[in-house]
Subunit: 342 residues, 2 copies
């Protein structure tokens, strides 16, 4: 059988500090579009790849996390939307569209097929299966409903609010009847939050010399729910502004991902005086709720009640810059790479 070109984004080696484009390299290999018999594997053509902050964690040599590190010299792994082009597995047919963990390359041989989902909703944008309908969207859903225990009328603060997770948290909170304020790092993002995503208020944290004062301005009555996507000084400032029995969902801590010595959080005594619950969140603990999530979010989307902003990057070549850009907030919305059009 003939071999087909297979461009790949290779993870060069473990890093410390902020990821750089040069930590990855584009390599052009070849692949046979077939699957070894008896392997149970499938061969897919990758259509969309996902850039997510958690991927920074896989760039360090640390084996005790919930997910192992990348393999130096091999293609980066991540969530993607792919099309089956060959199958040795009775559950997958050629032509099936799937989402799940795949490689940063044009074609991937996937052995661990049990982690894949078949895409049934062909009337939704395909790329949404790594965003609104994928891991980030489900993180927002599980985090808001299951971790934050919201009540109608409560005051909700979301950081990194225009990001893959934050933008859905804010919209779900608004639909739930909460008052919602978001923070982001550019004027463009703040405008999107207020004018497109329906947040009640939004502010640019980079223009605030005192985050505590900024939060007091937007929440004179205090914060019931803080959905924390960043950690660091924003978390410390939010702790000072929580209301009694407030809840903090800890998700991502993107400001700390690249630090070898994470910054200290100084205001945890507020947990006592305000009896705050703070809980870390991984969506994988809530997978039994995934069908409910899809049903709700697709219904909201089709009714025009929610929107989803993607930062679409064209071509596998754009992937390293797209991933690196997450850590300086270059992306506007969910970071996605379009590798191929079916």
């Amino acid at each position: 059988m003939e071999e087909t070109r297979n461009k790949q984004i290779i993870f060069k080696d473990f890093i410390s500090g902020i990821p750089k484009e040069t930590d990855m390299e584009l390599k052009e290999g070849k692949i046979k579009l077939e699957v070894p018999r008896g392997s149970g594997a499938i061969l897919v053509k990758n259509l969309f790849l996902s850039c997510d902050p958690y991927m920074r964690g896989r760039m360090r040599e640390y084996y005790e996390s919930y997910i192992p590190p990348f393999v130096p010299g091999s293609a980066i792994e991540g969530f993607g939307v792919s099309k089956v082009v060959a199958s040795d597995n009775p559950n997958f047919e050629v032509g099936d569209l799937i989402s799940g963990i795949t490689g940063w390359e044009e074609y991937s041989l996937i052995q661990r097929t049990q982690q894949l989902r078949k895409i049934q909703q062909v009337d939704m944008p395909l790329s949404y299966h790594v965003g609104l309908l994928g891991m980030p969207g489900f993180t927002a859903y599980a985090g808001f409903y299951e971790v934050c225990s919201p009540k109608k009328g409560e005051y909700v603060f979301v950081s990194a609010a225009s990001g893959a997770v934050g933008q859905l948290v804010g919209q779900l909170a608004k639909l739930y009847g909460c008052y919602v304020v978001g923070s982001a790092g550019t004027k463009q993002k703040v405008d999107l939050l207020k004018n497109k995503l329906g947040f009640d208020e939004a502010f640019n944290y980079k223009e605030e010399s005192n985050l505590d004062a900024a939060l007091k301005r937007y929440f004179p009555q205090g914060i019931d729910i803080y959905f924390d996507n960043v950690g660091g000084p924003m978390l410390d400032a939010a702790l000072l502004n929580m209301r009694i029995h407030g809840r903090i969902a800890i998700c991502g801590m993107i400001s700390q991902q690249s630090l070898s010595e994470p910054e200290g959080i100084h205001n945890l005594y507020m947990l006592i005086t305000k009896r705050i619950t703070m809980k870390g969140l991984l969506q994988s603990d809530y997978l039994h709720l995934f069908p409910n999530f899809l049903e709700l979010v697709i219904s909201y989307y089709k009714q025009g009640k929610i929107v989803y902003i993607e930062d679409m990057n064209e071509g596998l070549e754009s992937a390293p810059a797209a991933l690196v850009g997450l850590f300086s907030g270059k992306n506007v919305g969910k970071g996605v790479i379009r590798v191929a059009n079916e």
Copy 2:
């Protein structure tokens, strides 16, 4: 009516840093043992006074806490066990024994009588009503059962484990079927934990150069429940050793009480990777459970299943040193001052 001598411990002025004996002064005043008619107040003779770490918070000029600061120039306030000597309130008769907030003085006029409890259990040591059967004991009960959501067989770590709260947490956890390790700051306390309070293991944190390594030694399989009475570096080390879905009850943070700039906690990203719940605790949120608490703890005590260690200080004159001693760990067990023998 004749006046009676009334020695008082006066709070001199707001402080920063660690409390010193000279922040208080003994004053000898006089008081008439009667209650103004129509006031609804009672006059009590104080028998036992309680030394509790939270009292440090009342020594700073900060009005937004759950409890207001002490009044400079007036007697210190705190939990106590007292006997009614005059009453203008139909709910209290002369001779009644009560527990609740009173003054650091021989006799107190109490206006806010709704916060008082009448003592019914005359077959328990009276001083226990500020310890085992009072706020610290109830904190242990509510914190362990309601905040820590224990399961049989789980691994439990308690810091400041021989203190007023910790010693009961550890014993309740043992009775629940957990494996329990405690930390304390002297060899004497470690011996008490192992030989009198029934902890499985205990260690002197002051002899450990690396708290993370110490916890790994005592919990090679990790910690399910950390009952945190200290905050600071021990909390940071415990975060590194929590198991998946672990729970941390935040109670007291005594190591941070006297710092104007609390130390930073650096390992909060573990909340995400281990999906930890961390919750601050004030016993006053759980008062509906107080009768259940009394019933359980009195029953355990009468069956000889729990003990309670008090650090008894004789005479009102000893009160400033006893309170100050809490912050260097001088007390062995619950700090109490005996003011009078009925």
